[in-house]
């Protein structure tokens, strides 16, 4: 966006805030003395914070929502007020309170147990309609647990894929593509810490253990100023704090991995902990089988794959004004294969004895470690501070060794050893301060700043070759790059009058890399206008800057994707997005949202044609096409039902997403890989009775765009390296579509409450009617079937079963 526009915006922002404040100054509401009512809203039985819970004064319909830490602050005039605390899926609490001085009230809400349909007629719905932000969706995890799954346990990223505006990647993968953006443009955070690779099992399972998760917020547009650093989305995942009332937990036996979660108080209610762990069984079966196979062939060695992850969190409440949280995540995927074989002796005519020894080892491992130390401090009932120290690291390593030795009469006569290793990764250390300041009823101000040191290791390849007499080692690849990112922001949620509210904000950032400093001002604005009861018109504009890029050859979200920074040669990515939408609360707890958006992206990068992360011995920055442009636009419809016996949603997206690079596709604009014209999801969960829950998911989408051969011919250029070889003529980039994608998943939960625990059997059917959806499509010059395109389909009719004990 033009700098002049940014400057005009900043001046406008200051003007509006000053004007509104001066206007507010003559408003009798704000002249009058205000009483602050503040506190935390928590779950009754576990003490978990209820992010996004509402508090409002029912007569005048004045209210606020809790922040990410469950804290609220509402200012009201002195006098008697009917105050309501409410949260979706919980029983509301109403109290008549006489306010004469600032009051702190911590509220614990009980989960709703009423299953029959109740039409909520109070003003909570109206408040929800007004308070919900354009492009934002809040997903309480408890409402999603009964949904069917591929692996027997719900995967939160796969649930996010079912929301409108969000596309999935390949069949079964956890790839997230938001409003035409690429996966690197999603800021996926676990307890405020960015996670750089969210995949286990080559993308079939996300790293987020749903039993350790409390809430998920997904923001696709209309970004509040407190978020920055990514162009397309913020996925804010908050883990549970741990039950501070009693020790609880659950154990799940799924067919992929068993898991255990345990949480509870430590000594008193002031301290609680949570620990959760998962590990696959696969290697426990693969290793003995492959070992037996190798031994049967006269060798030794085995093949195995496993992943594990651990989540741990502890928090302590010193007093009502100070809370400390420490959370850590560690997860690793590892594939390893080794084979060793010594031949039997063979003899020449002279009677010399010969034998060969071969050893081969291949391994690949990747994983994340994240940690956050967070301090919540309440200065007074208007000012709240969250200080977070963050650490995150992602690594990807491959190693391959090939050793061959020849012996003559037990004397080593020849030896060849080749070792290839490839390492890449990224690590961040950061410090962040977030202030919430609620000076008046009409203003909720948030501001803060953060400093992050990113260390990039963009793919260092080392090739060692040694023969009997000499050793050689070549190391090629990017040097480690250290960068600093500094961000600051301010935003104000202003209720201009009973109908109109706005969120004005500004996010500014600097990025220091290779003696170059990039700076960016990113204005954000959101307007909500209440048309009439239960109807709201909303619009937003946000400008975003992203200083890191992800280089990806494939769409599988494979671990070899490479995180790289903006450098002196490669600019940061930029975008702006404008959106307009309407929300309406229908009868019987239905809520309808329709949004349209237009997003423009610039300074994107992609691998050049022919480039690959692995084979070429050259630096990453020589392999990329730069200064790419992109745009995406569409309309999204979301009809959801959040409460009652039957819950779920219907999401539909009609969208377009394009890219243009001077160096790709002859400079012509082409569809983005996940430009899917139509995308429909129907998600239903129904509580048949107290002991049985049914669920179903049906998805339909246009096929993924791809580039395929359209013809071949022989290279006949004289003196050419590839003379005689077949040249492949491809279609224009991404101009061919895979067949359409659709599938139906069904699930059923059998719940039985025992004296000391609850057990749940979950049966799921993934792709119930066995649709052969394309995993990938390729050309095959087949002798029997004839030449043409073939489709590989996976995951057709996958039943799964899991057994869960909750105590």
């Amino acid at each position: 966006m033009d700098n002049r526009i940014r400057i005009v915006y900043v001046l406008l922002l200051i003007f509006i805030m000053l004007f509104h404040k001066s206007h507010a100054g003559i408003n009798k509401d704000t002249i009058a003395r205000k009483i602050i009512i503040s506190g935390y809203i928590e779950d009754y039985s576990s003490g978990e914070k209820l992010v996004g819970a509402n508090i409002y004064e029912s007569a005048n319909f004045v209210g606020v929502s809790c922040n990410n830490y469950g804290f609220y602050s509402l200012s009201l005039p002195p006098g008697n007020h009917q105050i309501v605390w409410s949260y979706m899926g919980y029983q509301s609490v109403k109290q008549l309170i006489k306010l004469s001085k600032d009051t702190a009230i911590n509220i614990r809400l009980k989960p709703a147990i009423e299953l029959k349909e109740v039409e909520v007629k109070d003003k909570r719905i109206d408040l929800q309609i007004m308070n919900s932000k354009l492009g934002s969706i809040h997903l309480p995890i408890n409402n999603l647990r009964s949904l069917p799954s591929l692996t027997g346990e719900i995967d939160i990223l796969k649930i996010i894929q079912l929301l409108p505006g969000i596309k999935s990647g390949n069949e079964g993968s956890t790839g997230i593509y938001v409003r035409g953006g690429s996966p690197d443009q999603n800021l996926i955070m676990l307890d405020g810490v960015p996670v750089y690779n969210v995949n286990h099992l080559f993308g079939y399972l996300s790293i987020f253990n749903s039993n350790a998760i409390q809430n998920i917020d997904v923001i696709k547009g209309g970004f509040p100023a407190r978020f920055g650093g990514r162009l397309s989305s913020v996925i804010d995942i908050q883990s549970k704090d741990g039950n501070n009332k009693k020790v609880t937990g659950n154990i799940v036996f799924g067919y992929v991995c068993p898991q255990i979660t345990i949480e509870g108080p430590v000594f008193s209610e002031k301290t609680s902990f949570l620990f959760s762990a998962r590990r696959t069984y696969v290697d426990l079966i693969m290793r003995p089988l492959t070992k037996a196979d190798n031994e049967a062939n006269g060798g030794s060695g085995s093949t195995g794959y496993f992943f594990y992850d651990l989540n741990a969190k502890i928090n302590h409440r010193f007093n009502n004004n100070n809370r400390l949280f420490f959370s850590i995540y560690n997860g690793i995927d590892r594939f390893q294969n080794d084979e060793e074989k010594t031949s039997s002796y063979f003899y020449d005519f002279n009677g010399s004895a010969y034998k060969n020894y071969n050893y081969n080892e291949n391994s690949m491992d990747w994983g994340n470690t994240t940690a956050s130390l967070r301090w919540n401090h309440l200065f007074n009932n208007k000012l709240f501070l969250n200080t977070t120290f963050t650490y995150t690291k992602y690594h990807f390593n491959t190693f391959s060794e090939d050793l061959r030795e020849e012996y003559q009469n037990e004397i080593l006569t020849d030896r060849q050893r080749y070792v290839l290793s490839y390492n890449s990764g990224i690590s961040d250390i950061g410090l962040r301060f977030d202030f919430d300041y609620n000076p008046y009823t009409n203003h909720q101000i948030k501001s803060g700043f953060s400093v992050v040191n990113h260390d990039f290791n963009p793919g260092v390849k080392s090739l060692s070759g040694s023969v009997i007499s000499a050793d050689t080692t070549i190391s090629v690849g990017g040097n480690q790059i250290s960068t600093f990112e500094i961000d600051y922001y301010a935003e104000d949620e202003i209720k201009i009058n009973k109908k109109l509210s706005t969120n004005l904000g500004l996010h500014a950032s600097h990025f220091i890399v290779e003696s170059k400093i990039y700076s960016s001002l990113q204005p954000r604005i959101q307007l909500n206008y209440k048309l009439k009861e239960n109807w709201a018109l909303k619009s937003s504009f946000s400008s975003m800057t992203q200083y890191i890029h992800l280089l990806s050859n494939t769409s599988f979200g494979l671990p070899m994707d490479l995180w790289v920074p903006a450098t002196s040669k490669i600019k940061p990515q930029q975008s702006w997005q404008a959106a307009l939408g309407i929300s309406h609360a229908l009868k019987r707890n239905y809520e309808l949202t329709i949004e349209t958006y237009y997003k423009r992206m610039s300074d994107l990068i992609e691998y050049k044609e022919g480039a690959s992360f692995f084979m070429e011995f050259s630096n990453w920055d020589e392999k990329v096409a730069v200064n790419g442009k992109g745009d995406s636009y569409g309309i999204e419809l979301l009809l959801q039902k959040k409460e009652g016996k039957t819950t779920g949603w219907i999401g539909y997206t009609l969208s377009w997403s394009n890219r243009q690079f001077d160096e790709l596709n002859f400079g012509k604009t082409y569809p983005y890989r996940f430009d899917k014209r139509h995308d429909l999801s129907i998600v239903v969960s129904h509580k048949l009775k107290k002991t049985i829950e049914l669920s179903g998911v049906w998805v339909f989408s246009t096929g993924t765009a791809m580039t395929l051969p359209i013809g071949f011919y022989q290279n006949t250029q004289p003196n050419d390296t590839w003379n005689g070889r077949l040249i492949t003529e491809y279609s224009e980039r991404n101009s061919v579509r895979m067949p359409i994608y659709h599938r139906l998943d069904l699930g059923i939960n059998f719940i039985k409450e025992r004296k000391k625990y609850t057990r749940i059997w979950n049966l799921s059917l993934y792709n119930t009617y066995g649709r052969k959806n394309p995993f990938f499509v390729y050309y095959d010059n087949d002798y029997n079937l004839g030449s043409g395109f073939k489709q590989l389909s996976v995951l057709m009719f996958i039943p799964s079963i899991s057994y869960q004990i909750k105590f």
Binding site: S793, V794, I801
Partner: protein, 300 residues
């Protein structure tokens, strides 16, 4: 119970691994075979172009069935200013080789190739004859000398014409044999890495116009291997530095086909789209203009 879980896990792995391959029909344009032209026009030379048909994706490709590529009775004509210059004639010994009895190509002239054949879309291509490269050798030195053998390095200056978008190819040739250079770069840059504007294809170096942009550039060439022992030179022999101006279309075609060949075995590599200039068909009609510089080398 353990047995039960063992079975559950085994079943899970089996199901996850189950996959299905099947042939599918996709909505892909341009499914008919095309005429493929690969040829270059150069002043003073009678052009010989290769003409053959392309395989469609539905055809099974068998190496030994070369006649599958033959196009029968095509009509290939070259035009200048809408005037017919001549028709290409097939070589009776090589059904893919078509020659033109004409070599009076002049710098700046635009030539148009039109072709047609039964069951093929008509083809059209045009090319403009580039000017000769303005090249001169500024320095020659022996970089390594053994008892009876030697290597050498050269500095070649190319003065780019700012009015033309010129691309260049240069090589070392003697007795119709090409000799490889070890390294090439242009002066003023680090010697550690070859500039991405220079691409080596077989024994030739192809240089992007971006490298020059109308300026004078000096290119360094180093010889790979000893001339006598490695390359069979005589102790005293004349050879040529051969430098060609080539059209952008030809340069793009060479670079893209070479890049595709280099990445043939890398499953992670992005597809390389071939930059051809044959409308209605595939391949390239390029043009070039050659300058040769003789050098006589003696062992010391």
């Amino acid at each position: 119970m353990n047995k039960l879980y063992f079975k559950i896990v085994l079943i899970g792995i089996v199901f996850l691994s189950i996959s299905c391959e099947e042939k599918i029909e996709l909505d892909i344009p341009n499914q008919t075979p095309r005429m493929v032209v690969q040829g270059v026009l150069s002043p003073g030379e009678n052009p010989v172009i290769d003409l053959r048909k392309s395989y469609t994706i539905a055809e099974r490709i068998i190496d030994e069935h070369m006649n599958m590529q033959q196009i029968y009775f095509p009509d290939l004509r070259l035009y200048k200013d809408n005037q017919l210059v001549a028709s290409f004639v097939v070589n009776p010994l090589d059904p893919f080789s078509y020659s033109l009895n004409y070599n009076n190509f002049k710098v700046g002239e635009k030539y148009v190739l039109r072709g047609s054949a039964k069951n093929f879309p008509d083809i059209y291509a045009e090319t403009v004859i580039p000017s000769k490269p303005n090249v001169y050798i500024t320095n020659f030195e022996y970089s390594s000398i053994s008892s009876n053998d030697y290597k050498f390095s050269l500095k070649i200056n190319i003065q780019d014409n700012p009015d033309e978008e010129n691309y260049y190819a240069y090589t070392l040739v003697s007795n119709n044999q090409y000799y490889p250079f070890y390294y090439t770069n242009y002066e003023g840059e680090s010697n550690n890495q070859q500039d991405p504007s220079i691409t080596q294809i077989n024994y030739e170096f192809y240089v992007n116009d971006k490298l020059f942009n109308g300026k004078l550039k000096t290119i360094l060439l180093d010889q790979f291997g000893y001339m006598i022992n490695n390359w069979g030179f005589k102790a005293q022999e004349t050879f040529w530095i051969e430098c060609r101006s080539i059209t952008k279309d030809y340069y793009d075609y060479k670079i893209s086909t070479n890049k595709q060949g280099n990445n043939d075995f890398d499953i992670f590599a992005e597809p390389v789209l071939i930059k051809h200039n044959i409308t209605g068909g595939f391949g390239v009609l390029g043009s070039s203009n050659i300058q040769r510089y003789p050098l006589t080398i003696q062992t010391k």
